[in-house]
Amino acid sequence: MRDNILRYSIGIAILLALTFFAFTWQLREGEVAIRLRLGRAVDVVQDAGLHGKLPWPIERVVVLDGRARVLNTRHTEMLTRDKKNVILLSYVVWRVSEPLRFYQSLGSVEAADSKLDGLVTNAKISVLGGYDLSALVSTTPEDLMVDEIEQAILTDVATKAGEKYGVAIEEVGFKRLSLPEGNTRYVFEQMRAERKQYAARFRAEGEREAAKIRADTDLEVAQIRAEANEEAARIRGEAEAEAARTYADAHSLDPEFYRFKRSLESMDKVLGKKSTIVLRTDSPPFDLLQEGSR
């Protein structure tokens, strides 16, 4: 008997489970769904959780991925207002906002990519035609209008994608800004010319700066020399004056005696082997001889 209870309870459990799965379905967070009754949409479900339905084949649920997706557009050449060719690669973040419209117009997430690519490319071409290249790259902050351009494209695409495909555009960004291959040649030439100019400028600047330092050095050295000469001359001059004063002070005690003494010293210095001295016989000490002979 206990075996039978077990058997029945297993049977009832399986039956309940089957009924539960036949009449309910779960919508996972991040998904959206459409409930179809005999192929006709009767409900759009965007709240995650447990939902009821009639069992297959009467009702069927189409679940769509409602998460944000990233789309990259292709390389497309376009013209700016100032007739410059640029290749602008962008990314678009989008998600299904109206599941029914999305399901009816596109059917699948994969089909959405090419349609959105077209929308974004068209919007890019038309928006960019209204701006100069300097709105994308410039060292003048007032010229740059990348945010504005991105916003304009987003608004344009969002409106169309919402109306046509039930898709919400959350973000548009330029992930690459390139030039057509042929144009890079001219850009490189320009870069080279600019570099050569810089190199020449650095060389000239180096020479000028070095020359200036050398001239400064020469000047400073000359100044130091002059200062040294002047100072040395001053010291010597002062010393000589001082010495002269000292001599003068001493000699002025009796100038006549000084001249006498100094004359004797001079005589001692100037007389040599070839000198001829002419003396009067009455000059001392020879006057003694004369007097003696007298």
Binding site: R67, V137, E220
Partner: protein
Amino acid sequence: MIAPPSHGASELRRFSGPVLRSFELGLGYLRWGVLALVLAYVFSGLIIVRSEEVAVVLRFGALAGGTPATALLHPGLHFTLPRPMDEVVRVKIKKVYELEIYDLHYRRPGDPGAERSRRKTIDPVLEGYALTGDHNVVQVDMVARYQVDDPVAFALHQASPERLLRDAIMAATVRTMGEVEVDSVLSEGRSQFVIQVVQRAQDRLDRAVSGLALVSVEVTDLAPPRQVQAEFEQVQNAFIDMETQVKEAQKLREEEVPLAKASRDQALREAQGYAAELLAQARGDAGMWRDLYAEYRKNPQVVRDRLYLEAIEASLPRSGRIRFVPPPADGRRYGPDGFRLSIPAGD
């Protein structure tokens, strides 16, 4: 050959007997088996959230409790309902992920790039680059490090968070590069550039509710393309030359000026030495003179005569010739001391 029925029935019984018995026995075991299965099912909801992760619990597909906060399980042991009622999504929230962003660079993983290197131009499909504000081409390779900061948004609301991260950083890079000068971003402006890129990329990630937080962006390579590399190096060399020239001139200055100062000090010392000597000599002479004068004052004629005679003694013997002349008839004397010198030229 057909076996007789009676024999067949007994054969059947003979064979099925053990099978039936074991089935009966099996039913007994089955009870325990079912109980074990039921228990295992009930306890399959018991989960351990590891320390580096958090778990998001989905009850019938929706966030458990209705809000992201109530659906979040932090590290530890938790009891959830078994499938298909609850689903547990684990998110590594502590882990720092790395993503290389090479789309704006010539180097791509697994691509030798031999064909490209000979080109004089750049095909934007084959290799990437960015344009600076002053219309220069630069190529940049970056590594982004990031973490999940909103597990619900990251795990459930984003189909490809990594692609979004890559594109947001590239957009921030293109935007920021488009406003800087090439010489700035290649040198001292690089760190400011990175700060701007991180900020702009994070703004984009936040606007798209990515659930990602950038930890850092590291620029692993940032250089002008190879087509103009040589010219950039020349500028670099010219800059180094400039610095060398200036440094050499400064070095010369640092040598010459102290040298000049040293020779100045030397000259001054010499002058001072000369002055000291001169003054010493003068003072000495003056002193001697004063002594002599003091003596002279006491006895003028004696001193005078002594000096005179000493001088004659010292100088006359050295002289070549001495000639005497008689005094003039008028008795007039020459000079105070009555002698005259005649010095031949050239002596």
